[in-house]
């Protein structure tokens, strides 16, 4: 039996009330969406929180809609709804695929896209009970000073494990965060009340597994905006895991190819997750693939070259359960699968 530590639960019905509840409750406050990541982490005492602000009652945070050219997904939309949405399947196919392979059916029904975006990092030395971790003297991510992944490591390398992030990178999503202006911000000239801050998804992360995001815990994700993509947009997400369900990814690869009317690649992007604390973009992807036409010998040669080059920048660490060498060897395999699924 794993009990939750005691906390006070707040149940606001508007974003403004949620921000006020979080601001009034102090720093040991967490927003809780579906709870499928936060609750196990609280039960394992990986996180300390005196107050939880449940977002379950805020209807305005749910739903999928078009706003001008942007596809806007409310962060409290369930992963099941994201995966089955025709709008998402049409506009951002890789995101729909990724949402459909997160964990198991129950997790996707209660888990939300916003929760997946804000998922904590994972490591085989941290996602364990308090007793288990205490026997090792804890680790860099929480309560300890030593890294069990990299000997002498000074920075936590727990892995970014949110399936949805890799596709959101490839489509250039913007995340909209809202927070209440603190007294310090007001003293520095900011207006009082709710502040809105759009963050490009590839500016969200930092290379520190202890907390890998550049937004504060008092900032609430209120919108996930995906810009209009060209008619020839193709996307795919490939997930490596031991079982066909429930598991977190051992490796995740999202690929994007935009083709022009003649079938020539005009935009290419490949992003890997679960190798480090932040997603890793394969920077050689556009150099190799743009200008190629799928189905030609030139494309085949470029793809083989890309898969080879990618293994130099995408390096699996022994940070999550599973064979590290196998994960490393699957990097070119999944990149090839992801690109081929696009063409």
């Amino acid at each position: 039996m794993l009990r939750l530590p005691t906390f006070e639960l707040h149940k606001p019905t508007t974003v403004a009330a949620a921000l006020e509840a979080a601001a009034a409750s102090g720093p040991a406050t967490r927003f809780v969406a579906g709870g499928t990541d936060l609750l196990p982490n609280l039960k394992h005492e990986m996180i300390e929180a005196d107050h939880l602000v449940s977002l379950a009652g805020i209807e305005s945070l749910r739903g999928i809609r078009l706003d001008g050219d942007d596809l806007v997904i409310g962060p409290m939309t369930s992963l099941t709804d994201v995966a089955s949405s025709e709008l998402v399947q049409e506009r951002a196919p890789a995101l729909a695929q990724a949402a459909g392979v997160v964990a198991g059916p129950q997790h996707r029904n209660q888990g939300t896209l916003g929760g997946n975006v804000m998922l904590d990092t994972r490591c085989q030395w941290i996602n364990q009970s308090y007793f288990w971790r205490s026997a090792l003297g804890f680790c860099l991510k929480k309560d300890g000073t030593e890294c069990h992944v990299i000997e002498g490591g000074k920075r936590c390398v727990a892995a970014v494990s949110n399936d949805s992030i890799a596709p959101l990178y490839t489509v250039g999503a913007k995340l909209v965060f809202q927070s209440l202006a603190t007294p310090e911000m007001i003293a520095a000239g900011a207006p009082e009340g709710v502040q809105t801050r759009p963050v490009p998804v590839d500016a969200l992360f930092k290379a520190d597994g202890a907390y890998n995001k550049k937004v504060g815990l008092q900032e609430l994700l209120t919108e996930i905006r995906i810009p209009a993509l060209p008619a020839g947009h193709r996307g795919s997400y490939q997930k490596l895991r031991l079982r066909g369900s429930i598991d977190f990814p051992q490796l995740g690869i999202a690929a994007r190819l935009d083709l022009d009317e003649a079938g020539v690649i005009v935009h290419a992007d490949v992003v890997a997750i679960v190798v480090a604390a932040r997603p890793v973009r394969v920077k050689k992807a556009p150099d190799q693939l743009v200008g190629q036409t799928p189905g030609t010998p030139g494309f085949e040669a470029a793809l083989a070259e890309l898969c080879d080059l990618a293994t130099r920048s995408v390096k699996a660490l022994p940070n999550i359960p599973g064979d590290t060498e196998w994960r490393q060897r699957m990097v070119p395999v999944l990149i090839e699968d992801a690109i081929r699924a696009c063409v």
Partner: protein
């Protein structure tokens, strides 16, 4: 009056529970609804599966306080709902699991049956692949998956009033006997007796 008002199996339950209690803890330790099992308690096993607004969710990862205003169905609610809709016996899913021997220790069974009920409410005739996908969040440590899938297919065939395919290990007979439950709008759910008759 309790600090929470939960709607469980069609009834309103006022309960007193601390903020940090999960729905599973309230079901088991406040309401004595012990059909929902406490397995891993961290979302890995599916033994605590309940239906929330008709969809399978994990009661061990759902805060009781965040479950207000939602329709919660536990395994205890399946038979009363089936009978309220005019059926007899247990829910056809429960009947099929019982007769197909789709259990050993039985710990995963409430979750398995609720995931199945949600699937059959959504689709009348799901494919085997779809059944496997829908049950993929429910682990059976006794590895009884073969009979579990058979039980779901038995429930589908009987609910639709179709002849039941015999399992490969008993090609000449329907080893699970006749359906005990009936479904409203259908004269008899079981067709295994007809099939047996034809074979005889």
């Amino acid at each position: 009056m309790g600090n929470l008002n939960l709607k469980i199996n069609g009834d309103h339950h006022p309960v007193d529970a601390p903020d940090h209690w999960t729905l599973l803890e309230v079901l088991r330790y406040r309401l004595d609804l012990t059909g929902s099992k406490q397995g891993c308690d961290k979302g890995d096993c599916g033994a605590c599966t309940v239906l929330v607004d008709g969809k399978p969710e994990l009661a061990c990862l759902l805060l009781a306080g965040a479950s207000e205003g939602r329709e919660i169905t536990t395994i205890e609610g399946l038979m009363p709902a089936h009978r309220a809709a005019g059926g007899t016996g247990a829910d056809p899913v429960q009947d099929a699991f019982d007769r197909a021997g789709a259990l050993q220790c039985g710990f995963c069974q409430p979750g398995m049956m609720l995931s199945t009920r949600a699937l059959l409410n959504e689709e009348e005739r799901p494919s085997r692949e779809r059944i496997r996908e829908a049950l993929s969040g429910n682990l059976c440590r006794c590895t009884g998956y073969t009979q579990i899938i058979q039980a779901v297919e038995l429930a589908i065939h009987e609910t639709c009033g179709e002849p039941v395919e015999h399992p490969a290990w008993a090609p000449d007979q329907a080893p699970w006997g006749d359906a005990v439950s009936t479904v409203p709008g259908r004269k008899g759910t079981g067709s295994s007796d007809t099939t047996q008759g034809e074979q005889a």
